[in-house]
Subunit: 513 residues, 2 copies
């Protein structure tokens, strides 16, 4: 630990207070607190069938914990039937182990105004995760670099409707594989004051994430608070590899949050039917969450479901499809019955360009996720080409659409002002509401308004170059990056973080695979 | 009536049988029968407040029936308080009058396989209605002509997920205003065998619509069946003009269906709040439907709600917004409580181009309409630029997306095949589902597949010209129009229709306003 950590041991509040005094204030909406019902697609009978079948899968088929003798030992102690790497879990045991996981938790940001509540009726929005490529209209499609990564963190920081800075907003392929997590964490910690995710690609990188968080927040603060939510993918079907489980072990022990998430392309990693996929998703999440609670009862976790289906003609994964929507709705119901926060959804699309296909598919996905009761939405902006590409333009397009989710979630007010009977009386048959006093009093906040899309008269739009959404988004990207100013950070902490990264990098040879 | 009408008096079935024997068969999906719940946004208390307020509006403020002394007389007889053109309707009277309207009705098509059931849990999809302009990538934006009109009817006929041929798919501005309804009806009747809408722009044109329907279906058939659903807009707020009411009177007397539809840009024609708008919508529909039942108890009608909001900066109407979604959900609940079929939704957007904005906004609108329980969706494809433009490319883009609504509405099967436990057993941890027998047995129908969107590998897509959705749609438009073949129609009927149009045209001077 560096000297700076010692100085920060009094808690994470000091940096936050300093930030508040000196930073250029960026307006960020509070996470969504739904005031609308969830869409309950499945009835109780169907849900009970799926729950019963998931227990059957765990008991009779079991799951594999691969190259992880310690995990097998732990499962044996917990009462599972372990043969080789196969873990068969008696009916009810996994659900019982899951009971210690909290139904809601706070992830702290270094700016406490940006803290998020994950679970309950809340929805926290985070950007795209994982693409090796980036695209913009000017530069086309190319391998992502650390400069791109920093740009996306900046765009996330500048995005009003985005609550979370995310994790691997793109894969910085110009930095050695074994070192890039350090640069990525440094970017999230210094270029944004929103909450962020830790590294999961090796247990040692998860440990680095915790160490750097201790520098940023103070060691005591990290011991007592969740400051990272990280993405633990399951190798569907029914397989838990040692890398992801190793990272999960690090985070759970440190009381840091993990999304336990089947990664499913329906028809390939799960059955082609929705009920079958939901059964497998539930079995996998039960096993993964149970394991997290074996490591540390009470460790914060999220019921994850990354689901898409396959195009049987080309073998390509497809997005924004009805089957993905069905699974997202159903998995939300299963998560709520299990009492766990739920991660799913995103601005998913298969399109190569931020065009109409991207718009349709992403809107299908975003709307469904809101109504499905998702609590944490990774990939909510910037996702293109089935997740192979982080798109600059699509990032700001999606981020703008996230505003519609905020307004949808508000629901309908039926108080006296909402009822507007005075307005109807004042205007009467054949009248016009624009000038009436009720309209004047309410119009500023009544309607959601895009900061990006075109609402201009045709002639004006044509004179200004007849630009499509991608062109308008390109202008907005440039404007946001030009206007960016980093949120204030204690220089001692900044230096300590930079030192940690430098020291760690020096201690290792570069690896690129 | 022409000789042909006499010949057709035996009923509409003959033309249909003949069509079946000789026509090139175009695959059209049956109207959607939902197997999923509706999204019930408002609770009972909120709905009761709105219903109470709507009755207060009718009783205390009233509605205007303009330049229509006969309507005022009818209202007086029905028990309303009439002063000048203002009709105040005692609490409960309008709802009581609405009770004779059917909750569901069949609209017959000349091909009985294309008949649609409007109401209940069904959703019937119809194309864009009313734009004076058309656009395609090659020709840009221009005034619509009769050739465009015929092209859109052909595209509608060729669209698998579209159940209805619609009405004014674009406004053929090259035909005199007082004659164009004749050419439009002739196009729907001869170029498609799907159900269609009648003219509403003058009562005499509604009468022409009924006469031409009698030629097509036979007079007796039309007397006994609903063969047209027409769009009667209310001049919101609270005003019923004599042209639209005159057309409604013609259709109701002929037992032909009418959509009674407030036309609302929130903040201009209704209050800026959602609950206030819903109150006004309900009051207007109650008055309009009640009037239809005064004309003919039992006449088929639809509770309409065309709702959008205004951009307070530019004054432009906006589409695909959260407030429009709220109103669409709420109005659906009100319609169901009133026991009437519900019309709302559409592939709405404000964009000038079929770009990402069009995709986002249209998908927002389409998804919401499905979950809101809409029974008849006008504007489900082809709508561009706030309804000023019928877009060729967007027509086929939306029409393709309508497939997602069909699959979403199917719900989730939990029968043995749906549960897929055999597949999960067969594949096991770490396996792959592509080759398993359950996948082989189900893959063809398991997933919805776009006929338009790009699912290809990046390299293939790039080699083929890196086309965006608009470009792919343009190719599809050309292909559909090139492949088009008219459905078979009895030559005698065709001639009688053509004669009727020619005679009517000769009987009038041209007018262009």
């Amino acid at each position: 630990m560096s000297a700076a950590v010692g100085r920060r041991a009094r808690g994470g509040g000091g940096a936050a207070r300093r930030a508040e005094r000196t930073a250029v204030r960026r307006d960020t909406a509070r996470f969504i607190e739904r005031n609308i019902p969830n869409f309950e697609l499945l009835n109780d009978e169907a849900l009970e069938i799926i729950e019963h079948n998931a227990e059957t899968v765990l008991e009779e088929i079991g799951v594999n914990f691969v190259e992880n003798p310690a995990a097998l030992e732990r499962w044996k102690e917990a009462g599972a039937d372990v043969k080789g790497e196969r873990v068969r879990i008696p009916r009810g045991l996994a659900r019982q182990l899951c009971a210690t996981a909290p139904s809601q938790f706070t992830q702290a940001a270094r700016n406490p105004e940006r803290n998020v509540e994950i679970g309950g009726r809340n929805l926290v929005l985070a950007p795209v995760y994982g693409p090796p490529f980036v695209r913009d209209a000017a530069g086309g499609r190319r391998y992502a670099t650390m400069e791109d990564f920093r740009n996306f963190v900046k765009l996330g920081y500048m995005s009003k409707w985005l609550h979370h800075s995310g994790g691997t907003v793109c894969e910085p392929t110009d930095v050695p594989v074994n070192k890039r997590h350090l640069d990525m964490l440094l970017a999230h910690m210094t270029l944004s004051d929103k909450p962020f995710m830790g590294s999961v690609t090796e247990p040692v990188r998860a440990a680095d994430s915790v160490e750097m968080a201790k520098i940023l927040f103070g060691a005591d603060f990290v011991d007592q608070n969740t400051v990272m939510t990280s993405l633990i993918n399951i190798n569907s079907p029914l397989t838990f590899d040692s890398v992801m489980m190793g990272a999960l072990e690090v985070y759970a022990r440190a009381n840091q949050a993990a999304i336990i998430s089947p990664f499913i392309v329906g028809g390939a990693m799960a059955p082609v039917t929705v009920a079958g996929t939901l059964t497998q998703v539930l079995a996998e999440v039960l096993a993964g969450v149970a394991y997290s609670q074996i490591i540390r009862p009470g460790a914060p976790v999220i019921f994850g479901a990354f689901v898409t289906s396959i195009d049987m003609n080309s073998g390509a994964p497809t997005f924004g499809t009805p089957e993905a929507a069905h699974i997202t709705y159903g998995a939300g119901q299963l998560a709520r019955r299990l009492g766990l926060p739920y991660r799913s959804g995103g601005g998913f699309c298969g399109s190569k360009l931020p065009d109409a296909q991207a718009g349709y598919e992403s809107a299908n996905s975003l709307n469904m996720a809101l109504l499905a009761g998702v609590n944490f939405m990774l990939h909510s902006c910037g996702w293109l080409e089935g997740g192979l590409v982080s798109s600059y333009e699509k990032f700001v397009m999606d981020a703008d659409q996230l505003g519609t989710l905020h307004h949808l979630a508000r629901g309908i007010s039926t108080d006296e002002n909402g009822q507007a009977m005075d307005a109807i009386r004042e205007v009467g048959p054949g009248g016009h509401y624009l000038g009436c006093s009720h309209t004047q009093a309410n119009f500023k906040s009544a309607f959601w308004r895009s900061d990006l899309l075109d609402y201009k008269p045709f002639e004006t739009w044509e004179e200004e170059g007849a630009r499509d959404t991608q062109a308008l988004a390109g202008v907005r990207v440039q404007k946001l990056l030009a206007d960016y100013e980093a949120p204030a950070l204690d220089p001692g902490i900044h230096e300590a973080l930079t030192d940690y990264v430098a020291r760690k990098k020096e201690s290792m040879p570069d690896t690129f695979t």
